[in-house]
Amino acid sequence: MSTLAGTGALIRLALRRDRTMLAGWIYGLTGFVAATVYGFKKLYPGGVGITIFAATASTNSAFLALYGPMYGISLGSLVAWRDTAVGALGTGLFSVFLMVRHTRADEESGRLELLGSAPVGRHAALVSALVITCCANLVLGAAMTGVAIVLGLPVTGTVAMVAAIIGCGLVFTAVAAVAAQLASTARAARGLAIGLLVGFYLVRALGDAAGPRWVTWLSPIGWAEEIRAFGTIRWWVLALLAVTAVGLAVVAAVLAVHRDYDAGLLPQRPGSPQAAPSLRTPLALAWRLHRAALAAWLVLALVFGGVFGAAAKGIQSLARSSGGMRHAVTQLGGTSQFTDAYFVLVMTMVGLFAAGYAISTVLRLHSEEADGRADPMLATGTGRLAWGLSHLAVAWAGTLLFVLVTGLAAGVGFVATAAGGGSEVGRIVAAALVQVPAALVLAGLAAALFGLVPRASVGGAWSALSVVVLAFLVGTLLQLSHWILDISPFTHVPKLPGSAVSPAPLVWLSVAAVLLTVAGLAGLRRRDIG
């Protein structure tokens, strides 16, 4: 039997399973590029002001760290600057999730074992996952290119920029393929591959912001920048991405032969033969299950808060580059103080991240139930309310902690690079904390869906977050007012720092969060489990 037998059937199966998810990712990432092109066109009509912007972008170290240097002075340059590294990060995430889902996750759940007993070759699962992920990347690339050209970017530069982004997607597809052979669980494989992805993003951030330049060249995401899509294009850098992707894919295929089904190449550490005395309540278990994820989110909070806090210093000069930019930011900020308006923007993003954390934590209830781990808990003296509240409590506390840490990091980052003292830190922390009720409304929605219509909880909660994110992007970049702005809880958050705190929206957002949660718990008490 060929080691590739059954590959075609596996590809068709995967496409059948994933068609919605694939469409969602491709739509989202293409929309991200489209929104940037459209937004910059509105901000710099006729290209006026780009020169001033470029001067700031290439001297502000926080901007350099986030997006890298800007090559050329044109609309395309702006888009490539804004989208290459971040787009590579997004495409990399997409590729890692898709790849691990079709290799290690299927192996862990035993689905591949079932298929493996059919005439399916040894390499079929790996190769079919590679084919699916690569094709998804190519479709994504075609969509991005098409949309950017339709919106008016020059063809050659667009192709170079998209090739750079998709090249990174392919490299991280192969990275995930190797990680899926090394780690013995889907979780560990994802963690390894995403850790490398974020690590490479940070390596190029270091190279771009602090130098020396060769540090940027240590990262595939740095290579993507060095293609310089709308400057003097260097096509040969694409070959680096291609060779790396192919090389890693071959390594994955070789590793796949040298391991057993469901086994990894990295050793498993033994654990404790006894439970710690504290592991005796549903809350203790929930904490145990969520603590690693919370730690990762808090690291993100420190990095994100610190970078954006430090970036505030250069924000005044940016304001001079574009009336549209000034307008966009102050419209959202509701204040003429540009730095304050900038922090309002940043803190809304923090709120959206916090909502993402809260939703993923609440939805753990759903995966616990769907995977059959709720049954043994609920067959003990643990009641449904105690079980549900244990995960919700971690979600609430974690959200608060995430927002607090981000606010503190942003405040300290700002005070360290610009002016101000402890009171500035306090103002920025307060601006972060007002996001909490809005984030908890989305957590409450997830809880309500879980309790009342569990099947729709995952899709419903994440769709709600994507609508809210869209409302945020539409509000800031496209400057449209629309009804979706009003259904987003974040639209109603007081615009801190810089304006007066009105407690009313905070109170009714909190009430909404509580009511949704209560509805969810009431539903959970009444419905069937499993």
């Binding site: 862990e108 669980t185 979780r187 309540t281 995977d371 609920l378 069937d528 489990i529």
Partner: protein
């Protein structure tokens, strides 16, 4: 004394799919009760209703004298459950899961925990994600058996165990019975049910088709008879209750309704018996007879009958 489990006319549907269609089940305190049925017959649904995880659409269910839905948490302190498909938290070790479940149930016997780990040869320091299906099953079994509870609800608990471990499991259940525990054992493994259970309930398509002690159930079925005779037998085919008769010269074999056994033997001795094999019906026959499509009282020769006849 109230029954440990008393279920009458239990109904449960998932949309249009009927899972339980008037199921009856009674388990007396201190008895080990076998709960048999093919896949999808409603065993797990019944157990999940008894655990208060599902709400019944109709009928009554009483567990340890209480309402399994309304009083779930109080009742759960008095029982332990082993699911058929054990899923554990991948980043907890087996030992941690055993301790956690035991504590949530209201405490577990540390010495019994140690001896059970020993008997089931389970390494408690391994993360659950690294356990095989059988080892995950052992974790759930140790957690359940180490708890001081009145009732054990076991849903195909030995599906992933090897024969040695299955022997250990049987010993544990027998010990549990000697301590006065009640056990509901849902199973496919007929030899296990035959070896362990005082009474058996057989269900099919969400309905109880047979219940009683093994002796009661055997009475309802046929005995396989094979004999070598001095002369060719006559008139056997006219006897009531004889099925699947095969005669080859002086050798015969057939299945006979147990209550008609006497008449058949008389006729055989008339012809002169050289050798005789009589086999009581196995649970397997009972089982297959009910699953092969026609339910109780079917008069056709079943697959089991034919096969056992051939062996005899």
């Amino acid at each position: 004394m109230t029954d440990a489990i008393d279920v009458a006319g239990l109904r449960k549907s998932y949309g249009k799919t009927v899972a339980l269609d008037g199921l009856d089940l009674t388990v007396a305190p201190g008895e080990v009760h076998g709960f048999l049925g093919p896949n999808g017959s409603g065993k797990t649904t019944t157990i999940r209703i008894l655990l208060g995880l599902l709400r019944a659409d109709g009928g009554t269910a009483r567990l340890l004298g209480g309402d399994p839905w309304a009083q779930a948490t109080e009742l759960h302190h008095r029982l332990a459950y082993v699911p058929g498909d054990v899923n554990l938290w991948p980043n907890l070790t087996g030992g941690e899961v055993i301790d956690l479940l035991g504590r949530l149930r209201g405490g577990l016997d540390v010495r019994r925990r140690a001896s059970l780990l020993d008997r089931f040869e389970l390494n408690p320091a391994v993360k659950a994600r690294a356990y095989s299906k059988g080892n995950r099953q052992k974790v759930a079994l140790v957690a359940a058996l180490a708890s001081d509870v009145e009732l054990l609800l076991l849903d195909e608990p030995t599906a992933g165990l090897d024969p040695l471990m299955e022997a250990a499991f049987r010993a544990c259940v027998r010990e549990g019975r000697s301590l006065g525990r009640t056990v509901l054992l849902s199973s496919h493994i007929l030899s296990e049910v035959e070896a362990l259970c005082d009474r058996v309930t057989i269900i099919r398509l969400g309905r109880t088709v047979e219940t009683g002690s093994l002796a009661d159930l055997r009475h309802l079925t046929r005995t396989s008879v094979a004999a070598e005779l001095a002369a060719p037998p006559v008139g056997l085919d006219r006897l009531a209750g004889v099925h699947g008769l095969e005669v080859e010269g002086t050798r015969m074999r057939c299945e006979v309704d147990t209550e008609e056994l006497d008449a058949l033997l008389k006729r055989l001795t008339e012809a002169g018996v050289r050798s005789l094999t009589c086999q009581p019906p196995t649970l397997e026959q009972l089982f297959l007879r009910h699953y092969s499509g026609d339910g109780p009282g079917a008069s056709d020769v079943t697959a089991a009958g034919e096969r056992d006849g051939a062996v005899a």
